[in-house]
Amino acid sequence: MYIIVVGGGAVGHGLALELQQMPDHEVAIVELSGSRASELRAEIGEMVVHGDGSEIAFLEGVGAGRADLLIAVTADDGANLVTCQVAKHWFNVKRTIARVNDPRNEALFLRLGVDSIVSAAGAVMAQIEATLPEHTIIPLMALEGSRLHVVDIRVQEGSPAAGQRLRDLVFPPEVLVSVVIGKSGANVPSGDTVLQVGDEVIAVIPRESDAAVRKMIAGPTEGA
């Protein structure tokens, strides 16, 4: 199988390393920035190509016509969408996958013929929606080799944390509030971030602090 990956950032780099382990596949990594491309080439080798993956003439040159799969994972949603559309409609690439950076673009990408989308925010929200409305604390991911795990907590009515700045909350040790998802989307919080009822908080916490953190952020629960 011939796979073209467009975008040599963190995601593209990680993909390249994984795909290298699959010797039956031919892989090309396309990177727009010349300096980043040379950096990647030094590490990964000849499969790295410097160029604009959304440009038809360039894709022709890397043999997009015989590609089985194109994956667009740049940080630019416009480039990812256009690259997939070019692959699909100009080169008849069978399957296209796009990274979606702005979750509001998810539906549009699928409607315009991108076969699959990958969205970090979407993945987290799917977990959350599966358990709404009653959930107070959902374990999302165990961190291997430690007592820590990543959890999702919803700020509910009556929560002692609602309306408080993060810097004014005294959490148990080793609690790290990593992402706050509010009306304006997902944000990395600062000490000045004020938690609002309805916000989703993604935090890394020790398992033994589950109950304490739930009480602080989610607030009182029935039957608790």
Binding site: E55, D77, G78, V82, V86, H89, L108, L112
Partner: protein, 134 residues
């Protein structure tokens, strides 16, 4: 007519001024407020700082009531993304998209956008000019 122009470069500013002159209700959107200096002082339309690929910004710019959307930002992909949003999500009647790359312009015209390529137009004009005097 209510018209929303994305990108206030030379073409965007020139078109905005002309359309406003003709009596249309014009809004110009650009990520850089400095770009609005290109508008003539008589321009009486709305100027908004923001990205035309951002839904929140498009709604603030009145895309839901706009009859005509013209994408004239510097990046082809941004213009194509914003235009497809205008057409597919917001149902704007007339959408015009500048795509510098002639091949991409051709492809997206085939996919239903009204595109034009200034590169292709420039090549044609220069070619004509060469042989006109010959």
């Amino acid at each position: 007519m209510r018209i929303l122009i994305m990108g206030c470069g030379r073409v965007g500013a020139g078109l905005a001024t002309q359309l406003a002159d003709e009596g249309h209700e014009v809004t110009v959107l650009d990520t850089d407020s400095f770009a609005f200096n290109r508008l003539l002082p008589k321009f009486n339309g709305r100027r908004l700082v923001g990205s035309g690929t951002d839904d929140r910004m498009l709604i603030e710019a009145g895309i839901e009531q706009t009859e005509c959307f013209i994408a004239l930002a510097s990046g082809d992909n941004r213009n194509i993304l914003a235009s497809q949003k205008a057409k597919e999500i917001y149902g704007v009647k007339t959408v015009v998209t500048r795509v510098k790359d002639p091949l991409r312009s051709e492809l997206f015209a085939r996919l239903g956008l009204h595109t034009f390529s200034p590169t292709k137009v420039g090549v044609t004009l220069a070619h004509e000019a060469i042989f006109q005097g010959a």
